[in-house]
């Protein structure tokens, strides 16, 4: 059993000093001046601790110094250390290490960080290797993270021991930190990584097995297609939940972007906000969106193309939210969120909306506009 272990030692440092992330060198220096202490190594150790009793069975491969070596040796592991020793580490080190680990044939990559770290890992390995994230960053929009550092360790252990066999796709998302610090939030969906699926640990709640989730997604897609009206534009949002709609229609799907369909034919692929406004141009349209990422957003994260203006043109009554029950339960009672950047549009969503969860099932769920 080969386990790759990468710690982004600076992840999470901005949070307690109110900096909203630590992407960028100047910000990191500011965080340190403000008295920020490394949080990530502590959390990474919490995860690794779970694996301690199985130390002898696991070949641990990690990076120099605070990027994993220190955490591992502190716990008594004797890891194989790769890469060069450096005083200051940056995102390129995470990417390099992840690439090396992929080449070395690790079975699973356990990494600690936030959305930035997840993106770095994704850039390096895409969906070639199963991963599980230890949540340690300020921003955790990505769904590749376990709900708790200990849970990440447990998922890793169970996967390595063959107790978890199923893998799910989980979103890698990140917001523009510079804009975020100025008070604007835009998050982009960068892609999907493969995560071992332990219903209890990844989502914190038991909410059905992945094969049931898949069947539910299929059933939702059937419902959407069966209810499609002639000559109406269907704006299909990004994400894996909407993918079966396009697949069943036999149309090419843009996983990370927006497609437009009319009369079950593709009108346009991977469209931006301006394209949508131009194509719809006041005609009848419906938006099909799903909850993207781990925080419960339907608008404003991972689908900025569906702007306030687009939503106003289409109308709230023409929005269909789709999600599996598992996704709803994993919100832990928190409302579905809308953050379009347009306060008036956001407010319009406050209240309850139907979420289609299967062919014949809907959940009435609270929606909150930020």
């Amino acid at each position: 059993m080969k386990l790759g272990f990468i710690v982004n030692p600076i992840a999470g440092m901005g949070g307690k000093v109110g900096l909203k992330g630590t992407d960028g060198k100047e910000v990191l220096e500011k965080a340190i001046r403000l008295g920020a202490k490394p949080e990530s190594p502590i959390k990474a150790k919490k995860a690794l601790e779970v694996l301690k009793p199985y130390m002898d069975e696991i070949e641990l491969i990690t990076c120099h110094g605070s990027m994993g070596e220190e955490e591992a040796t502190d716990l008594g592991f004797k890891p194989r250390v790769i890469g060069e020793r450096k005083d200051k580490v940056g995102p390129e080190d995470t990417e390099e290490a992840a690439k090396l680990m992929l080449d070395m044939g690790v079975d699973l990559l356990l990494f600690a960080g936030g959305d930035g770290t997840a993106r770095n890992v994704y850039n390096a390995i895409g969906d070639k290797l199963p991963v599980i994230g230890i949540p340690a960053g300020v921003k955790i929009h990505s769904a590749v993270y376990a709900n708790h550092p200990r849970s990440a360790g447990e998922v890793a252990l169970k996967y390595l021991r063959g107790e978890i066999k199923t893998i799910r796709e989980a979103e890698v998302m990140d917001i523009d930190e510079e804009a975020f610090r100025k008070g604007q939030v835009t998050a982009k969906l960068y892609g999907y990584m493969r995560v071992p699926y332990e219903r209890q640990l990844v989502q914190s709640l038991k909410a059905g097995r992945p094969e049931q989730e898949e069947a539910a997604q299929d059933a939702v897609a059937d419902r959407i297609i069966d209810e499609m009206e002639p000559d109406v534009f269907y704006i299909i949002g990004s994400g894996t939940s909407t993918r079966p709609i396009m697949e069943k229609l036999g149309l090419p799907n843009t996983l990370l972007g927006i497609d437009i369909v009319k009369n079950k034919e593709l009108v346009a692929s991977d469209v931006g906000e301006k394209d949508i406004l131009r194509i719809i141009n006041g005609q009848k349209a419906k938006i099909i969106v799903t909850i993207i990422g781990g925080q419960g957003y339907i608008f404003g994260r991972g689908n900025q193309q569906l702007s306030g203006e687009v939503i106003k043109m289409v109308g709230k009554e023409n929005i269909r939210i789709i999600a599996t029950k598992g996704k709803i339960v994993s919100l832990g009672g928190q409302p579905i969120l809308v953050d379009t950047g347009d306060d008036e549009v956001n407010r319009m969503f406050n209240g309850y909306m139907r979420v289609i969860t299967s062919y014949n099932e809907e959940i009435m769920y609270r929606v909150k506009g930020l």
Binding site: V50, P53, H148, R150, E154, E163, K165, Q200, S204, L205, K206, A207, G208, K325, G326, I328, V329, G332, G333, G351, Y352, M353, R354, T357, N360, E361, E362, I363, M364, Y365, R366
Partner: protein
């Protein structure tokens, strides 16, 4: 105060008992049936030749061949690997309403075990009168106008309710339009599943985080001209009673929908609140929960379904009626949804429930509710004092007869979750607890329901055991995770193997066939 007894040194028997077929030795006999006397043989002749050809077996049945002593030993061993229904501390089975079922009613039920459901009505007048009288009692308890005892269990009764609702809207020409049923996530799952089976779309309401019950706004948003009905439990699984349930009912009825009250478990409100006063059109009781009859390992049970007069004509046939002189079964009900089960329900169960209700009396029924609620509130205080336990929703508000607690805090602190604790409870000679229906909206859940038949000592023992296990989780989490240590069966290391259809079969014969083993030859 009496000292709380925890069974420190409990240990369950583990017999490693084979399947009875594996104990079989060809030729071994439990009983040697005597040959009939010559005169009898001659008088009867060849009786087998009188049976129709198509009823004759071509092969002898493959039954285990085993001596009397070993048959008895086999079943004794199996029984020792259980905790024994009715006699254990079953507080743990929240939502199941496990109460003691008085033995005398079991005895009384044997009085009718030779009655056949095809007997002429004139020969079962006593039995029919018990149906009639018990129906009258349930009418009084619920405020409904007519009942059927045909459904064989709770979900069966709820499915029957969904079928009646379908018939009702069909009779008004509105079935196509009214295709949505509203329920809540903490209502019993059959309140969604059975209307779905009956062809309705299901809209599920989630609770408000603070009150623990859905907001009126959520219901209003869900209700429309498409609404066929509301199917709701109250109190829900959380034990929280929705205090404005009458308002919910009104909103649905004003939109043209019907309201069904799932009262499978009415233990918290017998003699205190009725479905009718809340405005419901229908309700049901599980007599094997609320009315003192056993949960017979999935049956026989009875789901008694009651309706208001405007829905009575749709009830299953036959109904039990009285014409002033005699009781009779009425099949002449043209708008009935038909039959939902053979004959007219499980007669011994109705007899037991009737006896139980007669023994309790009106005051006794109310006392059942009062003690159940009191027991629950006492237990809740003790359970919530355990470090690591939380109760979500409606802080500071009393629950009725059960509570959904959770171990989220303990889990985050120690890695010991609700499944681990559930297994460990068995090591103290107590039944595993019920976690939650799915999905687990509350993380690491467990649900306790201390009905009226448990003593204070039972409650104290239960709380003390959970407190002990929480301490163990902090001191030695791996020990709790590896539990049980003293039970007949241990943790299932590879649960997926139990689902392997290539390995397992439902019968011995299918098992042999699957593994291409020959059945032992039968001489």
């Amino acid at each position: 105060m009496a000292k709380v007894k925890i069974r420190e040194n409990y240990h369950q028997a583990r017999w490693d008992e084979p399947i009875i077929y594996e104990l079989s030795t060809p030729g071994e006999r439990g009983i040697l049936v005597p040959q009939p006397e010559r005169e009898i043989r001659e008088e009867a002749g060849d009786i087998l030749s009188k049976l129709p050809e198509n009823m004759l077996r071509k092969e002898k049945p493959n039954l285990p061949e085993i001596s009397q002593k070993h048959v008895l030993a086999h079943y004794l061993h199996l029984s020792q690997e259980t905790l024994g229904s009715n006699l254990n501390n079953d507080i743990s089975q929240g939502t199941c309403t496990m109460k003691y079922n008085p033995r005398i009613n079991e005895k009384l039920a044997t009085l009718i075990h030779e009655v056949h459901p095809l007997q002429d009505e004139s020969t079962i007048q006593g039995l029919l009168s018990i149906y009639y009288r018990f129906e009258h009692m349930l009418k009084e308890i619920s405020g409904m106008d007519k009942f059927t005892f045909q459904p064989g269990g709770g979900s069966h009764a709820v499915y029957t309710a969904a079928s009646i609702i379908r018939a009702y809207h069909e009779s008004r020409g509105e079935l196509e339009q009214r295709n949505e049923v509203i329920t809540t996530i903490f209502s019993h799952p059959c309140d969604a599943a059975t209307p779905s089976t009956a062809g309705f779309k299901i809209i599920t309401l989630y609770p408000n985080e603070e009150t623990g019950v859905p907001d009126v706004e959520a219901l209003k948003e869900a209700v429309s001209e498409r609404t066929a009905a509301l199917f709701i439990t109250n109190p829900e699984d959380t034990g929280i009673y929705n205090p404005i349930i009458d308002e919910f009912v009104k909103i649905v009825q004003e939109a043209g929908g019907l309201c069904f009250y799932d009262q499978a478990n009415a233990n918290g409100m017998l003699g205190i609140a009725r479905a009718r006063e809340a405005g419901f059109d229908m309700c049901h009781f599980n007599v094997h929960k609320t009315f003192g009859t056993p949960h017979g390992c999935s049956g026989p049970g009875t789901g008694a379904l009651g309706v208001r007069s405007h829905l009575a004509k749709f009830l299953p046939v036959p109904t039990v009626e009285y014409d002033g002189e005699k009781y009779y079964l009425d099949y002449d009900r043209p708008e009935s949804i038909g039959k939902v089960r053979g004959f007219f329900g499980v007669a011994p169960v109705i007899l037991k429930a009737y006896c139980w209700t007669m023994m309790m009396g009106a005051d006794g029924l109310r006392e059942v509710a009062e003690i159940s609620v009191l027991n629950n509130n006492y237990l809740q205080k003790k359970i919530e004092a355990i470090d690591g336990v939380e109760t979500w929703y409606a802080e500071g508000r009393r629950r009725l007869e059960q509570v959904r607690y959770n171990w989220r805090k303990l889990y985050e602190e120690t890695g010991v979750g609700t499944d681990d604790i559930m297994r460990r409870i068995g090591d103290y000679g107590i039944q595993h607890y019920w976690t939650s229906h799915h999905p687990w909206v509350v993380p690491e859940p467990f649900t306790l329901e201390p009905c009226e038949t448990y003593s204070k000592a039972d409650l104290d023992e239960y709380a003390a055991v959970l407190e002990r296990i929480a301490e163990e989780a902090r001191k030695d989490p791996d020990f709790v995770k590896a539990s049980p240590h003293k039970c007949a069966s241990h943790v299932i290391a590879k649960p997926e193997e139990l689902n392997d259809p290539s390995k397992w079969a439902l019968t011995w014969r299918a098992y042999l066939k699957k593994h291409k083993k020959e059945e032992p030859s039968l001489g």
